[in-house]
Symmetry: C2
Amino acid sequence: MTADGPIFLPQGFKFSSASAGIKTSGKPDLGLILAEPSASAAALFTRNRIVAAPLEVGRAALAKTGGRVRAVLVNSGNANCATGTKGVRACRIVCAALARELKVNASEVFPSSTGIIGVPLPTAKINHKLRSLAGGAEPTVERLRQFSEAILTTDSRPKLDSVPLRSGKASITGIAKGAGMVHPQLATMLVYLLTDIVASPAELTRALRKACEHSFNLISIDGDTSTNDTVLLLASGQSRTKLQAVRGEFERALIELCRSLAEQIVRDGEGVGHVIRLQIEGAKSRAEALTVARTISRSLLVKTAWAGADPNWGRILAAVGRSGVPVDPRRIIISIGDQKVCQGSSACAFDQTRAHAELSNPESRVTVRLGRGKASIEYLTTDLTSDYVKLNAEYST
Amino acid sequence: MTADGPIFLPQGFKFSSASAGIKTSGKPDLGLILAEPSASAAALFTRNRIVAAPLEVGRAALAKTGGRVRAVLVNSGNANCATGTKGVRACRIVCAALARELKVNASEVFPSSTGIIGVPLPTAKINHKLRSLAGGAEPTVERLRQFSEAILTTDSRPKLDSVPLRSGKASITGIAKGAGMVHPQLATMLVYLLTDIVASPAELTRALRKACEHSFNLISIDGDTSTNDTVLLLASGQSRTKLQAVRGEFERALIELCRSLAEQIVRDGEGVGHVIRLQIEGAKSRAEALTVARTISRSLLVKTAWAGADPNWGRILAAVGRSGVPVDPRRIIISIGDQKVCQGSSACAFDQTRAHAELSNPESRVTVRLGRGKASIEYLTTDLTSDYVKLNAEYST
């Protein structure tokens, strides 16, 4: 699943984008999704206690409308986070201006922002572009692709994918962005999922929670949970197919789509050299497996060993040991690719060259068996390279 | 306090070192401390569930002798960790060989190892050197300095310091090593504290716990807790001054010494460009302050910003937000040096150039006020540089 596959256009949505000058590069930094006449909505937000202004405004808007959305307005280049009450006011000003343009209620506009933290949102620059943005919205794949580019920050490429229901009755299309501060607790960065199925906000929320748990909650790039994480699922209802009639199929399709977007995010992680498919098996519970996966995926020593394609299983074992899970070292088995490298708390005889070669691939598999139970997860994470450090150490990014 | 200050020689200890060929560089890799006739001992070990063989053997030895030590045998170049039951046997073989040489019980030998994880301990190489090692032991500062060099791994310099009791009645001298896998939960890497005070193991343990809490537990280099962390405090009793007679002074001196060694470890952290003195104030409890400090000190985005001397307070705020402490963003105040940079969850007007200059110093101060209570801590941590990544990404380190 990649952004290069066919993109389906769920009925009931139009897209638009513009360059408002928020990004100093002059690249597109404003994106709009119109749901006409409107869509049911479900949203999940970051668990970070520091929450950006658009998340506060968006959450309040969804509560007010009972989960109806007419427009999604996204800017990149500015996160409108840690901007105090002025930031909330700025977000409301922009939503109200777009609502006037579209002749809808301000609470029917769902706002998102991504970019630098702590800088006031340039409302005048955004408002200046709203008329042409609204006027230019079209229900085409080309406009959808332009939208997916307008919401990027340090991302090197857009992330999108589509999954049609096998019954052909409806489809789901998703657009995401995110390359750093990716260690989602509930959602990741900005993700927009669009479908033309008929569903209530409650039905959408249930499906969305499940899909996130099996996708965005199983990835980590740098261990930092963003302040702006948002996943929004909109259903236009225009396929006339009811979610309840195809629930199993819809939920599977949504998980598949979210996994595709999550993988695209990890592959495009800041400075990423290698993607690691980390399999945690034999845990007592899913939560326990997740704790081990997150501890390993946050270990600088493990991540730098991966950067050097070094089959240094001792660092992985040490990370498991400090995860807080009461493991018995003698029962742990660690494999790199198809080779066991550690068992019974000591080294196996393994082919170092082959393990090195495995870890030199763009993507490789590392498996940790805890020997405690039957729960398992697959977690997607990355190495830590000098490029990551350079990118994030540059002054005033 | 630095390793360059005067080093006092507590009465009752001799030191020795040798090159046994465990390190491929041929540098000294074997160190010995003799306590004659013997010393009371207290030890703290890593909280990592994966525990190296010498820690198991040393813990059992202390239990068997009721806290008496005749000799401390340390090798660098090999951690003897994740080496299974063979590793424990190898450790016992070496301790028994030294015990025969010294004509003491094997349980009076306290072993330590530091270096690579998962490689069998070369017992023959070590045993071969034990006679000359034991024979060469002398109660001189020169031999003590040689010991402090023989226990180093990726450290660039030895770490030692002395604190005489102001009453002149006894002294405490400490030797430490550690540059990576430093995020102690109870102790850090290898630390040997020697005093000639008269004290029971129980008295020493109490003083040691307190001192570690205010020193090694307040530092982090890379967020990885080692499998070999050991802090050992030995009291020869030869000053004839009883600990109970000078308890306050002894405890203060021990804390001062441990802080000095902890700071030396952080300054010599792998690839460290800048040391950050992180002040957490206004927490509800010390534990809460520690949680916030550890989350900030583990954030790759914060650490890379520090590497670039970037006063990017948004990343610090985001880390506080995901720490799990229920902070109110509006009450948080962040300062860099003496300048407030964030208050009321938005930016203060501050001099960027001055903040950049402050963070360009080898050591700088960052203060986070949570506005929740009266607890505070000072935590010592580091930036994350490309040098760290390069050092740890090299194949087969």
